[in-house]
């Protein structure tokens, strides 16, 4: 197992190098530092001097890959590629184009992101599994049929509707919680409730429907018939036998997104004014802050690879048939 994980981590390296090189090309070759400077300075203030000054301030005045005048190794290290891209591998994100330390921003904004994303995931999982189990228990009845219809209706509505509708209903009409914003400490709860409820509403239709299918698939298996032949009650069959097996695909589907929770949700955070990493990324895109976007793209791919690795490990934990070799 250790050998397997080590090998998987080695496989991850070329992927990260690929992501790194690709983003470098997009951000510095397709879109040159001069273009960035022009965008940032705005049409009125663009002069060759201003551009040069902007580039020097941010370290974009170096050559892309090879700094010929510098001696020895510095010819390689004193370049945009090395300073801006290779350094990402040590999680040294440098400064944003606004001049702020990116690592510190990330550390600050991770908290609010997790405060929304973790409860949303857990509540969603619990509600979806419960509803799906209920439908599976009442399979073939009207409750099941209407439950599926309702789930399809829920999943057919755009998530933007849930956000705006939720803000209107809960925030404006009922005046229960603020419609946007965030505070630290215990006060955070009142800002978290609405986004969590909205993401639950947006995901419950597709989640329930999918989990119901998983449960029904397991219910049709031979070992369920064996369990019934032992004289077990339907409740015991569902909870002990079916749930254990259906949880395998459910859990592994959840584990793969766990690391990505750190990055928060772009849309939810933007709409609810949550100062998390999702809104950070959106803001950076708005402000053409490529240093931040680059850092987030790289971090996202690292976390995604981590998620896939965690999925493989979680398989070995929940499914005795799987061994990593």
């Amino acid at each position: 197992m250790i050998a397997y994980l080590a090998r998987r981590l080695l496989y991850a390296l070329p992927i990260l190098v690929g992501v790194n090189v690709l983003t470098f090309f997009l951000f510095f070759v397709v879109n040159s530092p001069d273009d960035m400077a022009r965008l940032h300075l705005g049409v009125k203030r663009v002069t060759p001097d201003a551009i040069e000054k902007w580039k020097v301030e941010r370290g974009y005045d170096r050559p892309l890959f090879w700094n010929a005048p510098r001696p020895g190794l510095a010819a390689l290290t004193d370049t945009i590629f090395f300073q801006k891209s290779v350094r990402l591998f040590t999680f040294d994100f440098g400064r944003s184009d606004e001049g702020r330390e990116i690592s510190r921003d990330i550390a600050e904004r991770m908290g609010p992101s997790l405060a929304i994303a973790v409860p949303a995931l857990l509540v969603g999982l619990l509600v979806n599994v419960t509803l799906a189990m209920t439908l599976a228990f009442f399979r073939g009845t009207y409750l099941d049929a209407w439950g599926v219809v309702f789930a399809v209706v829920l999943m057919s509505v755009s998530s933007l509707f849930y956000i705006i509708g939720g803000q209107y209903l809960v925030g404006k009409l009922l005046r229960l919680v603020p419609i946007s914003g965030y505070e630290g400490g215990l006060d955070a709860v009142k800002f978290i409730v609405l986004p969590v409820l909205v993401s639950l509403a947006a995901g419950v239709g597709s989640g329930t429907r999918w989990y119901r299918t998983l449960f029904l698939e397991e219910l049709g298996r031979d070992y369920v018939r064996t369990a019934r032949a032992k004289g077990l009650a339907e409740r015991a069959v569902l909870f002990k036998h079916v749930l254990r097996n259906a949880l395998i695909p459910i859990l592994t589907g959840v584990v793969v997104v766990l690391p990505l929770l750190f990055l928060g949700s772009l849309i939810t955070e933007a709409f609810f004014g949550i100062p998390g990493l999702g809104s950070y990324t959106i803001d950076a895109i708005h402000q053409q802050d490529f240093a931040v976007v680059r850092a987030m793209v790289f971090l996202g791919s690292v976390l995604y690879i981590l998620g896939l690795l965690l999925t493989d490990i979680s398989y070995t934990l929940v499914d005795p048939r799987v061994r990593l070799e």
Partner: protein, 675 residues
């Protein structure tokens, strides 16, 4: 069938319907059964006859589409069909337990074996968790699982097929039931393991006074283990009786046909009896006898009126107009269980030049481990196999699952590249061929796979499937010519030319296997590897396919490498046989010599384990201990010595040489030392 006061289980007029797209199937249509305490009662029938549905209705475990329409199922006088659901749950597992055909899928993969047994113990005996687990270990011991306390903490996938079925039996014993329903309990197992499981069931029945309702399609299994048997056809019991009587004198034309369709030694050279037509669709009401359209003794009455049940004494009865009161029984009784007169066609015992010559064939699969995926061992799937096969002849390769016989077939065809050894076909070394030259040769080497459901592309029309080989080989460039050849081929294998424009799923298993044979024949091969072509089929359909294969051989001079575990098929079809054990041939020679004078203890055990459809046979089964070892670590010395009843010190030390013990009969065993 008069109701007996001491019957354990009495099923009366049971009717079960199954809803299917486009109607309802009367899967069970008026079945009566009586099971006495402590007896094994078999229900014999082919797939789709309703035997499993009958069994599932007793426990009220029918699939969602199934429904009991009418009838009663009395257990000690209580009608189970009228019990409320939670009272029924107290019956399941406690009074009546059930085991199923596929032990692999019938056990929960994510729970330990011990848990799954303990679950039933806790449910029915109210023991604590720990006491239940202790009981589970005892039960595992009772069903003959070595090292039961370790096994109890293992998961099903860590056990072999035979052990899983033992675990299923232990699960069923947890509630100490009065009746055990065993639905095809040994169909998925090898003969030697089947013998072990049947013996276990019988021992448990005797020790515990438990009745067994044995559902099976295998006449041999019935003869071995059941005291009484009911034969089912199309949802009805057509004949019932004491096993010995029924086997000695089968009465219903269907039962007689079943016996005649069995491949056996007396029928060599002749064609096997087949039952024409197919089982009628049970969606519509059949006014007459359900078997009438396929019965060669049917007359007008059979098509007009359904026959009633005619008791004939000694508990035997039959549902057939031939035995109605007042009819002249002597006239209607054709001679005893028909053995088709063997025509003894051509005694092809001249030794022709071999078409296929395999020498020292090895196929090893590397086991890789660790960070750098270093090779740490080899699975020696095939480890030095020699074969010779001449045109127009059949060489059977027999052995238990996992012995490497399928791998040999694939390596001969170069579907798998051998690790070492030579495969010469028609004088040319195949192992060195590649690219277009090999492709050209493939035309002469074809294969028919075991599972006709999985081996054809479900999205392709039958015509395209048959045509594909000709296209790939470019044998017939003209489309019209190709199409007419497809029609010819389908006709040759006994299919309607209209089959061309249909998809594989529209056909039955036997018909699909015919398509697979037509596909193989399309490129005019000289050698066909038949990999268990009939093991997924019913007896009567198996007979049709075996007849077809034999017929094609006679007409086209095909050579067959026939891979099978069914020794009856070997006797019927093969000229020579090679017995494989753990990657090596332990004995080979002419069929008659090997099967009647087996020289290797393994061959002897294999032969003795085959259930014979003769209750009076009284054969002694040589019980093999344990199971096939892993081919990655074969035992030292003779591979077979750990299971061999005749093993000696020498057997633990060295692998025996192959020596001749008769004309063409060779064996590798220390009992036969080289002279």
């Amino acid at each position: 069938m008069t109701a007996s006061p001491r019957a354990l289980l009495e099923v009366r007029d049971l009717r079960v319907s199954l809803s299917v797209p486009g109607g309802t199937v009367r899967a069970v249509d008026g079945v009566d059964l009586t099971v006495m305490p402590g007896e094994t009662h078999a229900i014999l029938g082919e797939s789709g006859c309703g035997k499993s549905m009958t069994a599932l209705s007793i426990l009220r475990l029918l699939p969602a589409a199934g429904r009991v329409v009418d009838g009663s199922v009395r257990l000690d006088g209580t009608d189970l069909l009228r019990l409320p659901e939670d009272a029924m749950r107290a019956v399941r597992g406690r009074r009546v337990a059930m085991i199923f055909q596929e032990p692999q899928s019938s056990l929960n993969p994510v729970l330990t074996v011990g848990d799954q047994i303990a679950e039933g113990v806790r449910r029915h005996q109210g023991l604590s968790r720990r006491a239940a687990l202790r009981r589970a270990v005892e039960l595992l011991e009772a069903v003959g699982i070595p090292d039961p306390s370790r096994r109890a903490s293992e998961y099903p996938h860590q056990l072999s097929g035979g052990m899983k079925q033992r675990v299923m039996i232990a699960t069923a014993l947890a509630g100490e039931p009065d009746l055990l329903i065993a639905d095809e309990p040994t169909t998925a197992l090898d003969v030697t393991i089947q013998a072990q499981v049947l013996e276990l069931l019988d021992q448990l029945r005797r020790e515990r006074g438990m009745a067994v309702l044995l559902i099976t399609h295998d006449l041999g299994v019935v003869a071995e283990s059941a005291q009484r048997v009911a034969v089912m056809y199309a949802g009805q019991v057509v004949e019932e009786g004491v096993t010995a009587d029924l086997f000695a004198r089968p009465l219903h034309p269907y039962t007689r046909k079943l016996f005649a369709a069995l491949p056996a030694v007396g029928k060599r050279g002749g064609a096997l009896e087949v039952i024409p037509g197919t089982v009628p669709s049970l969606t519509a009401h059949v006014p007459g006898c359900r078997f009438a359209p396929r019965c060669d003794q049917a007359w007008a009455l059979c098509r007009a009126a359904a026959p009633g049940w005619h008791p004939l004494g000694r508990g035997q009865g039959v549902r057939c107009h031939l035995y109605a009161e007042g009819r002249d029984r002597a006239r209607s009784l054709p001679p005893g269980p028909a053995v088709v007169p063997a025509s003894m066609a051509v005694p092809r015992d001249v030794t022709p030049t071999p078409l296929l010559r395999v020498r020292g064939l090895q196929v090893h699969f590397p086991i890789r481990r660790g960070l750098l995926q270093r090779v740490v061992g080899q699975v020696r799937a095939v480890d030095g196999v020699d074969l010779d096969l001449a045109a127009g002849r059949t060489l059977a390769l027999v052995g238990e699952s996992g012995c490497g016989k399928t791998t040999v077939g694939h390596a001969v065809l170069q579907l798998l590249r051998p690790t070492a050894g030579s495969v010469r076909f028609d004088g040319e070394e195949l192992t060195r061929l590649s690219g277009p030259r090999l492709r050209q040769r493939r035309r002469e080497l074809q294969i028919v796979f075991q599972d006709p459901y999985a081996s054809m592309n479900p999205r392709m029309l039958v015509g395209d499937i048959v045509e594909e080989g000709m296209l790939a080989q470019g044998t017939l460039p003209d489309r019209t010519a190709r199409r007419s050849r497809v029609a010819d081929l389908l006709a040759q294998v006994g299919l309607d030319p209209g089959a061309t424009d249909r998809y594989p799923h529209e056909f039955s298993g036997g018909q699909r296997q015919r398509v697979a044979i037509a596909r193989a024949l399309a490129v005019e091969p000289r050698l066909v590897v038949c990999d268990e072509p009939t093991s997924a089929l019913d007896v009567s359909v198996q007979a049709q396919i075996l007849n077809l294969l034999r017929n094609l051989q006679d007409h086209l001079g095909l050579a067959y490498l026939f891979i099978t575990h069914n020794l009856a098929v070997v006797e019927y079809l093969a000229h020579e046989v090679a017995v494989m054990y753990l990657g090596r041939i332990v004995e080979r020679g002419p069929v008659g010599a090997v099967l009647r004078g087996p020289a290797h203890p393994y061959t002897r055990a294999l032969l003795s384990a085959v259930p014979v459809p003769d209750p009076a046979g009284g054969r002694a089964v040589i019980h093999l201990e344990g199971e096939l070892p892993s081919p990655s670590q074969p035992p030292r010395g003779c591979h077979f010595h750990p299971r061999c009843p005749e093993a000696r010190d020498l057997c633990r030390e060295s692998y025996p040489e192959t020596v001749g013990v008769g004309t063409g009969h060779r064996v590798a065993c220390h009992l036969h030392p080289p002279s």
